[in-house]
Amino acid sequence: MIKPNPTLLARLAVGAALALAASRALYVVDATEQVVRTRLGRPVEIVTEAGLHTRMPFVDGVVRLDKRLQSFDPPAAEFLTQDKKNLAVETFLLWRIADPKRFLETLAGREAAEARLSDLSSSELAAALGTVPMSRLISAVPGEAKLSDVAAAVEGRVRARAAEDYGIAVETLAVKRLGFPEQNLASVFERMRSERERIARRLRSEGEEQALRIRAEAERDKAKLLADATRKAAESRGAGEAEAARLYAAAAARDPDLFRLIQRLDAYEKMLATGTTAVLPADSPLLKVLVDGPPLTREPRK
């Protein structure tokens, strides 16, 4: 059996106490947090640097606070613009604890901080929106809407107040949603609908007008083309007639009587077809020709 050795026990006890004290004297600060060291409840040091730090064992306390960026959405609220338009506005804030000591002194914790930020941003937003017309927030005119400028102005004021009063650094305050209050939606939809109907009507009548114009142009082009062609045809026919007349005239000039005779005979051949019933008087020249021989306009030369 091992007998308890009083000296050894005492040594062990002292060693354990020392180890405990040493472990209580050291603490780790993570990169995601910052620490307020308190002595008997009173803040004595702010540690923002991550790493191993020392404190007085059993006397000093450590309050850990998040160092990272926090996102917060204040509740949606309705605001009046300068031109008395009622808008439902939702914002968001990105913030972090910049002065842990001040933060601890003035705020109980995260909920309290968010409540203050909500009040602050709401009152600043109301003040800012009351001085601008709605066209500064939303506008279809390029370059007219300056929502981020308006938000930046609010952000600047909220940042200054939050830093001074609560040790909070507001890094961003921006509008995440703009809309009309629920009770105005019906009339907004009504307006949208009538606008769409107007556009639809305009498109249809535009289409009809264009179609009519295209058809009318086509008809006009066709008429012009055919008129042109008819003119050319008439010209060509005229040229043909003229040419033929010239040829006939030239031929006739050699012997007009003979020419007339041949023409007459040609005409007979064309006029009188097979099966023609001819009723001739007994003194018809044709019969005369058959009986007496051809009429002689000139005495045949012997």
């Binding site: 990169a31 995601t32 947090e33 991550a50 998040d66 160092k67 990272r68 960026l69 959405d73 968001f92 927030l137 939303i138 279809a140 390029p142 809407a145 929502l147 921006a174 509008v175 995440k176 907004v188 939809f189 949208m192 769409r196 109907e197 639809a200 009507r201 535009e206 289409g207 264009q210 009519l212 295209i214 082009d221 083309l225 055919l226 062609a229 008819t230 026919r237 007639e241 040419e243 033929a244 007349a245 040829l247 006939y248 031929a251 050699r254 012997d255 003979l258 020419f259 005779l261 051949e269 077809a273 023609t276 019933t277 001819a278 001739l280 020709v289 058959l290 051809p294 045949p300 030369r301």
Partner: protein, 296 residues
């Protein structure tokens, strides 16, 4: 006793050794927090080491693409996706998927309490501002994609400014539609635009058809007349030539020529006739004109 101590020492050594080894997966990168402070050098895929009890190791997936949706209702809030106002005060339901990758694991871990929510909010802020500066017809047609890129670059700029350690790769519409109560009216406008196109196309088709028909008709008319002209002229030329030949012949004996012409013509024509000769001196003669092959 001695053996027991030896085994104990060996087991303790093995435990320490095991606790010192870090396995990092192929998609991962590990950040070592030594006494809470991140080391500059992160651990890549494979085996790494750490000091047990002193180092805290956090792995992040650096190759993975994360998606956060801006404009959708917050998960768990139960609210419906809210609408956005366009510059001409039309309400749109818009939801935009933002894809991002972790570019700087240390910043990603210590920069913000909730990176994904922060990006979602920045995306919504960008959407609100961008949509609020554009007319609805622009947003729903030509401006659709350009707007996405503006949203993406804005979110990236804000993420860089806040030190979130992420790269916003892309933005894509999950939905971008008119508010449901008026979506049919917007559809009607699209139909009207399609009708306008159709009316115009019909008219153009009619016009083309008419034009080609007219060209054909005109061509036919001109060519027909041209042919007739040539024929007319050639016929005249032929007649003229024939006459010239006959005239030459007549030079020798005109009376003979004339009598020959008469007789030839009569010889050709008379056999084709049904001929009645009426003697004007006598009384009436009954003729049976409507008859078949009668007397000759």
């Amino acid at each position: 006793m001695k053996r027991f101590a030896l085994v104990f020492a060996a087991a303790a050594g093995a435990a320490v050794l095991l606790a010192s080894i870090v396995v990092v997966g192929p998609q991962e990168r590990a950040v070592v927090f030594r006494f809470g402070s991140p080391l500059k050098r992160t651990l890549g895929p494979g085996l790494g080491t750490r000091i047990p009890l002193v180092d805290r190791v956090v792995r992040v997936e650096v190759t993975r693409t994360f998606t956060v949706s801006a404009g959708s209702a917050d998960a768990g809030s139960g609210a419906r996706a809210a609408s956005f106002l366009t510059g001409d005060t039309n309400l749109l339901v818009a939801e935009c998927a933002l894809q991002y990758r972790i570019a700087d694991p240390v910043r990603f871990l210590v920069g913000a309490a909730d990176v994904s929510k922060t990006l979602k909010r920045e995306g919504e802020g960008a959407l609100t501002e961008e949509l609020g500066a554009s007319p609805v017809d622009d947003v729903l047609s030509v401006g659709r994609t350009a707007l996405l890129e503006r949203v993406r670059s804005r979110v990236q700029r804000e993420a860089d400014g806040r030190g979130l350690g992420v790269v916003v790769i892309s933005a894509a519409w999950r939905s971008l539609d008119p508010a449901p109560p008026v979506i049919d009216a917007f559809q009607a406008v699209q139909n009207a635009a399609a009708d306008r196109e159709r009316l115009q196309n019909d008219a153009r088709a009619y016009s083309d058809e008419l034009a080609s028909k007219a060209r054909g008709e005109a061509q036919a008319l001109i060519e027909g007349t041209e042919a007739a002209r040539v024929q007319r002229v050639e016929a005249a030329r032929g007649d003229a030539n024939r006459f010239a030949a006959l005239a030459r012949e007549a030079g020798a004996d005109p009376a003979l020529l004339r009598s020959r012409l008469w007789l030839e013509t009569a010889g050709r024509l008379v056999p084709k006739f049904t001929t009645y000769v009426i003697d004007g001196r006598g009384g009436g003669t009954k003729l049976r004109l409507v008859k078949e092959s009668a007397a000759k």
